[in-house]
Symmetry: C2
Subunit: 489 residues, 2 copies
């Protein structure tokens, strides 16, 4: 250390858009990932982790909301001057892996994965550039049943993560429907089709009339910015709007409504047939109308989807009974061209991705604590340096009984130690001063009761009458006494 020569002190701060996560958030995230991974494994999907980096050419131009390579990702050049980038999702790396190892894989190849992804976007309040996704994908099956199964897992995953029936729904659409409709209306340019997709994607925010402008000549927003439109004819615009409004209360009714507005192109008919087959398979999988609906207004932003697309939405009520909408908490679809980018051979694939951080935030807003509340350890007060070995033995006894425990290892006195225990959320503190040591006893202070009396938990009366706030017990009874406190008895 040559601090004398380097007086520079960096400021301790997070890079912009990158946050730290404390125990409460991590408990929730881990509980969600665990629950969803168990669903994926129950369906026969195997774990696969790909690295943080991919070569930039492997990520290609399929970046979120961007046509240009390296935009939206964190990229850097390796020693040998090849460009690498951090993965922006878990799908592009899977496509690379599948292309690379295809000959050796059991097919269809079914994998799940979870972990961080990184997006080089403008950070803002609540807008992070690193977040956790949890995906399942089937590569090598063109069957609509493979899509239905992915949807069934999404539905079951939502439930396992803590959103019971009625509080979440998966909405299903098919890119081929809108493509077919546009072909029938004489639109053939990919750019124009993309502009239509982007316009429809704004339906929630702008409503049908705003979207009409974006489908036609363009739209001037409040700030005076003009967005060029897709340039559809009036007839084309109304056809698109009618299509997006074809959602009904049941899957069969929606398919009927779509049929009346979509007919006349091979691609549209194919899309309708696929949705019909998905609907049949969902029935076989036991996924009812209350959990998975057809909804023609769903778009999904990513360019690489080629057929069915899925979007999961939470319909959660908060503690006050008010419905809180967090929009999309996951999505996916079929991407039959992504592996072909490498191999030249079309390889059908379909998958779904949970936004774990978003799902955790949704559950929190609904007043739930996935993974339960974080509890602190029992804290053993450190009175005297001479008796540290005795304190450690007490802590060891508690740990042996499955109760997290620690000896206070700071340099402060009794009062600060009590405050420390309280801030850690300790259920109890254990005190063993000279008197207790001589008598073979310990004194236990019930901090949970203190919190109850302070009104932090319900049913105060029961606590007050039945639990002593503090008690001195023989050392051999310490564990049992604290077990009762931890169990809330």
């Amino acid at each position: 250390m040559d601090d004398a020569q380097t007086p520079f002190r960096p400021e301790a701060r997070n890079p912009r858009g990158f946050g730290d996560r404390r125990a409460r958030d991590l408990r929730a995230e881990r509980a969600i990932v665990q629950a969803v991974a168990e669903v994926y494994e129950a369906y026969g999907f195997e774990a696969l982790d790909t690295p943080a980096f991919e070569y930039a050419d492997a990520l290609g131009k399929f970046l979120p909301d961007s046509d240009r390579p390296n935009e939206g990702v964190f990229a850097m050049q390796d020693d040998d001057e090849q460009w690498m980038a951090l993965r922006y999702d878990l799908t592009a790396p899977l496509a690379r892996f599948a292309a690379q190892t295809w000959e050796t894989l059991p097919k269809p190849f079914r994998r799940y994965a979870y972990g961080p992804v990184w997006r080089n976007e403008k950070p803002g309040p609540g807008r992070f550039r690193e977040f956790i996704q949890c995906d399942a994908d089937t590569v090598g099956s063109a069957r609509p049943e493979a899509d239905a199964e992915i949807i069934a897992m999404a539905v079951q995953g939502l439930e396992a993560a803590g959103l019971p029936r009625g509080q979440a729904v998966v909405k299903i659409n098919n890119r081929k429907l809108l493509n077919g409709l546009l072909s029938a209306a004489g639109v053939s340019s990919e750019g124009q089709k993309l502009a239509v997709l982007r316009a429809v994607d704004k339906l929630d925010r702008l409503g049908p009339n705003g979207v009409r402008l974006l489908l036609g000549e363009g739209r001037l927003d409040e700030s005076g910015d003009f967005t060029k439109g897709a340039g559809l004819s009036a007839k084309g615009i109304e056809a698109v709007i009618a299509f997006t409004a074809a959602g009904r209360g049941s899957r069969t009714e929606t398919l009927d409504a779509i049929a009346t507005v979509i007919g006349g192109s091979a691609e549209g008919d194919e899309g309708l047939k696929e949705l019909q087959a998905i609907g049949v398979a969902l029935g076989g999988l036991g996924v009812g109308e209350d959990r998975a609906l057809f909804d023609p207004s769903i778009v999904r932003g990513l360019e690489y989807y080629t057929g069915p697309v899925f979007e999961a939405e939470a319909l959660v009520e908060d503690a006050a009974g008010k419905r809180v909408s967090f929009g999309s908490i996951g999505g996916g679809g079929r991407y039959d061209d992504l592996v072909a980018r490498f191999t030249g051979e079309r390889t059908p694939a379909t998958g779904f991705s949970f936004g774990v951080s978003r799902l955790a935030a949704t559950l929190r807003a609904a007043g739930r604590s996935p993974g339960g509340e974080a509890r602190g350890p029992v804290v053993i007060i450190a009175f005297s340096q001479d008796d540290m070995a005795e304190y450690f033995k007490l802590a060891g006894d508690l740990r042996g009984a499955g109760i997290p425990a620690e000896v206070y290892l700071g340099a402060s006195g009794m009062k600060a130690q009590m405050k420390y225990a309280d801030r850690r959320g300790a259920p109890a503190v254990v005190m063993m001063g000279g008197d207790e040591l001589a008598a073979g006893t310990v004194t236990i202070k019930d901090l949970d009761q203190g919190r109850a009396l302070a009104g932090q938990v319900s049913d105060n009366a029961a606590w007050k009458s039945e639990r002593p706030g503090q008690a001195t017990v023989p050392r051999g009874e310490m564990v049992a006494f604290i077990q009762r406190i931890v169990a809330g008895k």
Copy 2:
């Protein structure tokens, strides 16, 4: 997709030094992380995740084996031209977090963390640039008991991860001992001290005589490269060598041996006193001589350690009874200056880091499977498109009983489906053709038995006599039948 305009096909390959991890490896890694995290939580350490990126100035010059900033890390410039780098360990981000939030933290602050770290080093066979660490640290305690507790957790973590007593050891040294010895020998330059540390670090590889050369004028290796030495006097060299050889069979004996070679400097005496206190605390924590030893030859490469240093080593025998040494599988120490880089205020801290990937490889080499063997799902054969809904119901019944199951969703025939099931490691396949459907039965093929008869599991005779290779049973008995197969009965 405008493939016609972009005929470029990227090669599907991993970036150099970055690997994919399949189910078997992930099961092992996750089991290790889970077991070690449970030990950390039992000691009262709370979870904290910091992001992948830190500002480069926050990582500072404390890079592994390097004095120069940005060497050894993956760094890039953000939009606003600030340099960010991926974390190369979990300690530097903790120091940043502690400095940033110190006023709001309960103190001492005890946290654990696990996740990937990245090092921009030359990749090679088995040398990856991304790997998993699992750390625990106490910030804000100068007590030797805090070090002892970190060592106790390392010892218990090794055991929980699958290395029982006698198969792993934590070795402990103190930087202050060697520093004191060098001060007494008249060495005061930090550069010279660092050269001594680096020389001692090569003891395993070069032996005492090779290290003597590096401590003195320098050493010419087999390839003709000359490494400049630390320039110690002959007396200084022998003092260092005698110190590194002071390890004995018991902690007390080693401390006595160190005392005879180290005396005469305040720093050395302080180091000895700290080790004595750590020894006493280890006794109180129930950590015996067979699990944690003092060893003056341990150095640890990182510059930032200021006092005690720890290193975990596996002593594993492989299936043939041969001892396999994987060297260090984790390490740590006290780093009292790392938080002060930000705040200017000395903040004592100590911690330990498991190399999870290394630990998993060690266990594998010893013939163990942390997390158990990965099992495939039961595979339902797909005979006819018309009956897919029935197949899905069978899969649903199995999943409902906690047995992973899938319906084959590829396009191949019966023979390929059986091969698929075998490659997935399916315990059984379920067949329900027209006859079975009409009769309300299913035919179950016991693939586990097939593997047993092929000699892949032991005790063939029992399998052959007691289990039918294939059976047709009523649909209502399918789950119970397969439960017996999965249970190995």
